[in-house]
């Protein structure tokens, strides 16, 4: 369910969340193995969480609260609960994003350029929530070496897109070499420009898994802007009816 978290968090904008299975000597494993461990760590059947998104930009701070449900790698539903956005929902199934708004008579299916729009003015785009395949299906991974991030030894891994179906053609991941969680991610454009940075600030362990519960995304194309995601409560392995991720139920 790491990816479920990933989706849970991704839904809010995170690309990776990781928990650690074991620690291995540095350089004893390849980049692919590190990524595999990262992803194995993420496989949960279901997850339910509540949290908040704190957006800071030049105009001040804005807090949005949400609930989310995730099943497997490719199904995520987020429902916003803060006053301004109450009742709004984002449903992600496979590679499709659907938006539900209580005052709109139709469900909006996002596609094309609209996927690059920001989610509720945050530093995360809808596009960041797509791409449910495993990282190794979409990217070629190369281990660049090790670096210390926040005092922790990390594997520095470069991901290069195999095709066009990903939001970022190149990413650099710093994966904690002991607990196999992502500590930092840089996302680049085709022209090698740093587009976004994600920093994981806090982790939590549950049922033998370790996953991020507080992380910050910065859209480098925006000035003085950052979005902090905080997972305040999370349950994994809970019963979620599969109809929850259907378009019919979205409008209920």
């Amino acid at each position: 369910m790491h990816t479920a978290h990933k989706k849970t968090l991704l839904l809010i904008g995170i690309l990776l969340s990781v928990s650690m299975l074991s620690s291995l000597p540095l350089f004893a494993i390849s980049a692919e193995e590190i990524i595999r461990k990262l992803e194995e760590n993420q496989v949960h059947e279901t997850a339910r969480s509540e949290g908040k998104m704190i957006i800071n930009d030049r105009f001040g701070e804005k807090v949005t609260t949400f609930k989310s449900w995730a099943e497997g790698e490719e199904k995520t539903l987020i429902e916003f609960t803060s006053r301004q956005e109450r009742g709004q929902k984002i449903l992600r199934t496979d590679d499709e994003i659907y938006l539900y708004f209580p005052d709109a008579a139709e469900v909006i299916r996002l596609q094309g350029a609209a996927l690059r729009d920001s989610v509720l003015g945050s530093d995360m785009s809808y596009e960041d929530m797509t791409g449910g395949k495993g990282l190794l299906d979409s990217y070629r991974a190369t281990l660049l070496g090790t670096e210390k991030i926040d005092g922790q030894e990390c594997y520095k891994i470069e991901l290069k897109a195999k095709g066009r179906g990903v939001p970022y053609p190149r990413e650099i991941l710093w994966v904690d070499s002991e607990i196999f969680v992502t500590r930092r991610v840089h996302m680049f454009s085709l022209s090698e420009k740093l587009l976004k940075e994600m920093r994981i600030e806090e982790y939590r362990s549950l049922k033998g898994k370790t996953f991020p519960v507080r992380f910050i995304i910065e859209d480098k194309m925006k000035r003085n802007s950052s979005t902090e995601f905080v997972i305040e409560s999370i349950e994994i392995g809970v019963d979620i009816p599969s109809s929850r991720f259907s378009l019919e139920e979205l409008t209920w």
Binding site: I55, D57, R58, F59, K62, T64, Q84, E85, Q88, L99, F101, D103, A104, A105, E106, I108, R109, Q111, G112, A113, A114, D117, V119, L120, G121
Partner: protein, 410 residues
């Protein structure tokens, strides 16, 4: 008196040549009476469009709104606008006001996305402020309090929409979140300038406030003044009043300070004066040529009158008067012809819709020239002056002819 008679007689000696010289000045004068009328018409047209649809005569906005305009800063609005509207409407100089919310949006229809510019307006006020009913070409105006919308014909055509259709729009709210709402189309609008005919729609202000989470705020208030009130003075006074009313964050600006379009038209006006100068100089070359030929032809005559006692300056004045009469008559005829062309076109207008298609300026597709007494008088005096002055060069030459040399040809 005698010189004038001689000059006039000389003009009539070769009528065809004189008419040709006059025609050159007349054509230039005619063209510029018409062009200056077009510019005047365009100035009035742009002023009306700006004041009615874009800026008002005076516009009130949050002073920081312009700085962050590209970010759609709805939170930098005019809060508690109803209280401010009441104060404004009680002011002697104010004729009518229009509170509005402008917002960019994405419209979704059957899986396709269209970008558009929305405007929340109070339809009851707009009936008076912009005479909105005049621009509703199909259906009816939306009603306040209803999820109804008036869509520009260009947008309706692009999206294949018609009366009774729904569309859902998605946009950023005041709190920088997102929201979507579905509106029903009750009317199609077509304005006189293209900027409002494409990707534009208007919805009831109260519904727009609701879905943008604006509470009792608007993004701007436009003000139209009664006649004889200066927008500049009113804006200056209003800025002091806004501070006194505890709203120092708001700013009132007059329309000429806001829009660049009017500045462009004013600039075009100035450029036309320079172009006019060139045209009149060009027209004057015909007069100069005629005068030079006349002087050459009349060398013997000049020699004779010089020998009879006419002084050099008198001879210069004679030829200058000839040129002046030609220029004055040519200008007068040209101005009359210009008025003759301008008058009917000012009634029926000139259709520039093909040329103006897609031009995002507040210039109407059908332009009506407006005859301006000052510019018409200016064209007459200007063309007469330029042509007369230009003829001074050959006239001076006539004075240099020596009687002995001139008479030797006899």
């Amino acid at each position: 008196m005698k010189l004038r008679k001689i000059a006039w007689r000389n003009i009539r000696r070769n009528t065809r040549r004189s008419i040709l010289s006059m025609s050159a000045v007349a054509i230039a004068a005619m063209a510029f009476v018409f062009l200056f009328s077009m510019i005047e018409g365009m100035k009035q047209d742009v002023a009306y469009n700006l004041q009615t649809f874009v800026t008002g005569e005076v516009r009130i906005r949050h002073s920081e709104f312009e700085k962050y305009k590209h970010l759609n800063p709805l939170h930098l609005g005019v809060d508690n606008y109803t209280a401010l509207a009441e104060r404004l409407e009680s002011m002697e100089a104010v004729r009518t006001i229009s509170p509005r919310i402008k917002f960019p949006t994405a419209i979704y229809k059957e899986g396709s996305t269209y970008r558009a510019q929305g405007q929340g307006v109070d339809f009851e006020r707009e009936a008076e402020y912009q005479g909105l009913e005049e621009y509703v070409v199909k259906g009816r105006m939306p009603r306040n309090g209803q999820n109804e919308v008036l869509v520009a014909t260009g947008l309706a055509k692009e999206m294949n929409l018609d009366i009774g259709d729904n569309f859902t729009l998605l946009t950023q709210t005041r709190g920088r979140g997102m929201n979507a709402i579905t509106f029903k189309i009750t009317g199609l609008s077509h304005y006189q300038f293209d900027g409002l005919n494409n990707s534009f729609f208007q919805a009831p202000l109260d519904r727009v406030q609701y879905f943008l989470r604006m509470d009792n705020s608007v993004s701007e208030i436009l003000i139209k003044l009664k006649e004889n009130y200066s927008a500049e003075e009113f804006a200056a006074g209003l800025n002091s009043s806004l501070t006194d009313w505890g709203r120092p964050q708001l700013e009132a600006r007059m329309w000429k300070d806001i829009s660049q379009t009017y500045s462009f038209v004013v600039m075009a006006d100035a450029i036309y004066f320079i172009i006019a100068l060139m045209f009149f100089l060009l027209g004057s070359t015909v007069i100069i040529n005629t005068m030079m030929m006349t002087i050459f032809e009349r060398r013997k005559e000049i020699g004779t009158i010089n020998a009879m006692g006419m002084t050099g300056p008198e001879i210069v004045r004679l030829f200058f008067l000839e040129a002046f009469f030609i220029a004055a008559i040519g200008s007068f005829v040209g101005v009359l012809a210009g008025i003759g062309i301008t008058y009917p076109t000012s009634i029926y207008g000139l259709n520039f819709s093909a040329a103006m298609e897609g031009v995002d300026m507040e210039v109407s597709q059908i332009l009506r020239p407006v005859l301006n007494f000052k510019s018409t008088l200016f064209v007459f005096l200007y063309s007469t002056f330029i042509a007369s002055v230009a003829s001074f060069i050959p006239s001076r030459k006539s004075a240099k002819i020596k009687p002995v040399e001139a008479l030797r040809a006899i």
